[in-house]
């Protein structure tokens, strides 16, 4: 899951970067960048952090 989280986070960045090449409209770029940003945040908070919380120190008795 750690690898999946990292890949999702990086993919969000790549999507934001691609916004520069696929459209020249400000609104279009804004939408794509926000999608990329949301994906990166999900990768960090929804996947990566959850993977670490599974073995959190307070759960170990």
């Amino acid at each position: 899951m750690i690898l999946v989280g990292i890949l999702l986070t990086l993919l969000g960045f790549v999507i934001s970067l691609i916004s520069l090449g696929v459209t020249s409209s400000v609104g279009g770029r804004l939408a794509i960048v926000l999608i990329g940003l949301a994906l990166s945040l999900f990768g960090i908070m929804g996947v990566l952090n959850k993977a670490y919380l599974k073995n959190a120190i307070w759960k170990k008795g």
């Binding site: 990292i6 960045f13 970067l17 960048v33």
Partner: protein
């Protein structure tokens, strides 16, 4: 003639005498019609050029006059102090022009160096703040991390970090002589050149970078990097192995920070989003809400996630427990020192006081003050309203949140914008601390992720909203003519450029930091042993207690 009539005449006489005087001093009325008469005014003669011959007779105080001393300062500093290139010719226009140019660069050098020294002083603020928020049994360890990062970070930055960041920035006009920093590695993406990293400046000797202007730039950029490098120590406090800290700090200063700083400040692809893709003036970050604070805050998040929380921070059900700070006096002293140092951080980022647009240093300093005040006020009121007491540590965090947030936009917004940015940051930091602790269940003892990460990102975004288009630093920014203008003043594309910067921070910088932290965990081990943690890291990690004569509670 009656007395009353006499008095009336005297009054009228006085009025007629005074009225012309009063009118003469009154501002001229706006002409109702076009001032046709001005055409009749003879044009003033063209200014006569000054010749070398005119300088020959420039009066200079005699040696005898000087010998008597100069208590009022009227004799010191005159034409005899101007360096003359050829004594046979005497003082020439060329000599004067050279002296003026050198004076301009000298003013900028002194300004940049002194503001750099102020930023270095912030290291003490961080040390006191983090140590005060930790428990007494970890005070030596925490202070050592804050001092250690200065030396370790600087060494790595000298070795390679500065070259990666600034090796391709080109000549910085305000500092006169940074032309050797001229090689940026670029890749072509979407048909445009993407600057990725600089190539000149290794060891400050490589490719002609043993240069006075480069030295000033290095000092100023080094203390900025060091500010970023010290942020993770706060999030990892009380459980970080010192060896892991040392390796992580080296990697941060050598690679993580310089890469993003190159993209934003060193002529890299983010700065060129304006010239290459028509997005505002490119990604703008005046003094580093993103480059310094968000990079540090996101690295802190990656390290804190891998480290895990301190023993006792969460109950077995996952509820956060309060672990008290050991010295609020240190905490508040640290906050105030940081606020003082910020007057170097933001106004100093002009890299000069004597150039086109650099007199904005006044408004930059005032914006910095205002945002810190409103950040503090809104955090204090939030805590007072929600928890019935104006909590000191969160008020301090609000103070810093306002400063972090105004760092990027300080050079481009007006005082009202600064006040709003600070107000939002103060509340945002309180919400973010609660989110990180209760929802993410990440243990961040000093709130570094929220203060620097969350509010750093807010600062970057706020620039894209509040930049008022009134600043003018030589007529352009990042190679695009005009002034930086945000969404509320008519340029939505600037906000998009800022958001691409944020996506790079969250998606790339976090990932790179995480990979480094993961590798350090595999090779060195990030976390101190549970025994050391319970005992306090001072003895097991550092070999000495900070307060050996105190009786410490475990």
């Amino acid at each position: 003639m009656k007395n009353s009539t006499k008095r009336l005449l005297v009054v009228l006489f006085v009025v007629f005498c005074i009225a012309p005087l009063a009118l003469a001093q009154a501002p001229a009325a706006v002409p109702a019609t076009a001032p046709a008469a001005t055409a009749a005014v003879p044009a003033s003669p063209a200014p006569k050029p000054i010749l070398d011959a005119d300088l020959a007779g420039t009066p200079v105080p005699s040696a005898d006059a000087h010998a008597k001393g100069d208590p009022d300062g009227s004799l010191t500093g005159n034409a005899s102090d101007v360096t003359v290139s050829d004594p046979k010719k005497g003082l020439t226009i060329g000599d004067l022009a050279n002296q003026v140019g050198q004076n301009k660069i000298a003013v900028n050098f002194v300004w940049t160096l002194i503001t750099g020294y102020l930023v270095m002083f912030m290291q003490l603020g961080f040390a006191l703040l983090e140590t005060g928020l930790a428990r007494a049994k970890n005070a030596n360890h925490t202070m050592m991390m804050n001092m250690g990062v200065y030396g370790i970070g600087m060494f790595a930055y000298w070795l390679i970090g500065f070259a990666i960041q600034m090796g391709g920035v080109g000549a910085v006009a305000n500092l006169g002589g940074t032309a050797p920093l001229s090689a940026e590695f670029t890749a072509t993406i979407f048909g445009k050149p993407f600057g990725l990293f600089g190539q000149h400046g290794l060891f400050l000797m490589h490719k002609g970078t043993y240069d006075v202007g480069v030295m000033v730039l290095f000092l100023f950029q080094m203390v900025f990097m060091d500010t970023g490098a010290t942020i993770p120590t706060g999030a990892a406090v009380e459980r970080w192995k010192f060896s892991a800290f040392a390796v992580t700090s080296f990697l941060f200063a050598a690679f993580t920070y310089p890469l993003y700083a190159n993209w934003a400040w060193g002529g890299g692809w983010l700065a060129n989003l304006g010239t290459n893709f028509g997005l505002g003036k490119g990604y703008c970050d005046f003094a580093g809400s993103g480059v310094v604070h968000a990079v540090g805050g996101l690295s802190a998040l990656a390290i804190a996630m891998i480290l895990g929380p301190r023993i006792g921070k969460f109950s077995r059900e996952g509820r956060p427990q309060v672990i008290l700070a050991h010295d609020i006096v240190l905490v508040i002293t640290g906050c105030l020192i940081l606020a003082f140092g910020w007057f170097g951080f933001n106004p100093g980022s002009t890299l000069g006081a004597s150039s086109n647009g650099n007199l904005r240093i006044g408004s930059i300093a005032v914006n910095t003050m205002l945002a810190s005040a409103t950040g503090m006020i809104s955090a204090m009121l939030y805590m007072w309203f929600m928890f019935k007491k104006p909590d000191a540590s969160m008020t301090g965090n609000g103070f810093l949140a306002g400063l972090v947030a105004i760092t990027a936009p300080s050079g481009f917004v007006n005082p009202l914008g600064a006040v709003i940015i600070g107000l939002v940051a103060g509340v945002l930091v309180c919400l973010s601390v609660a989110f990180v602790e209760r929802v993410l269940q990440v243990d961040d003892p000093v709130g570094a992720v929220s203060v620097h990460g969350t509010c750093g990102i807010w600062g970057v975004i706020s620039l894209g909203l509040f930049a008022d288009g009134k600043s003018n630093y030589g007529g352009s920014w990042n190679g695009v003519n005009g002034s930086v203008t945000g969404l509320f003043y008519g340029d939505a594309s600037q906000l998009v450029a800022q958001l691409i910067g944020v996506a790079t921070l969250v998606g790339f910088v976090f990932t790179l930091s995480f990979i480094f932290a993961f590798l350090v965990d595999l090779l060195v081990g990030q976390r101190a042993s549970a025994k050391s943690e319970l005992e306090g890291l001072d003895l097991p990690e550092m070999g000495a207690l900070a307060y050996p004569e105190f009786e410490l509670k475990s």
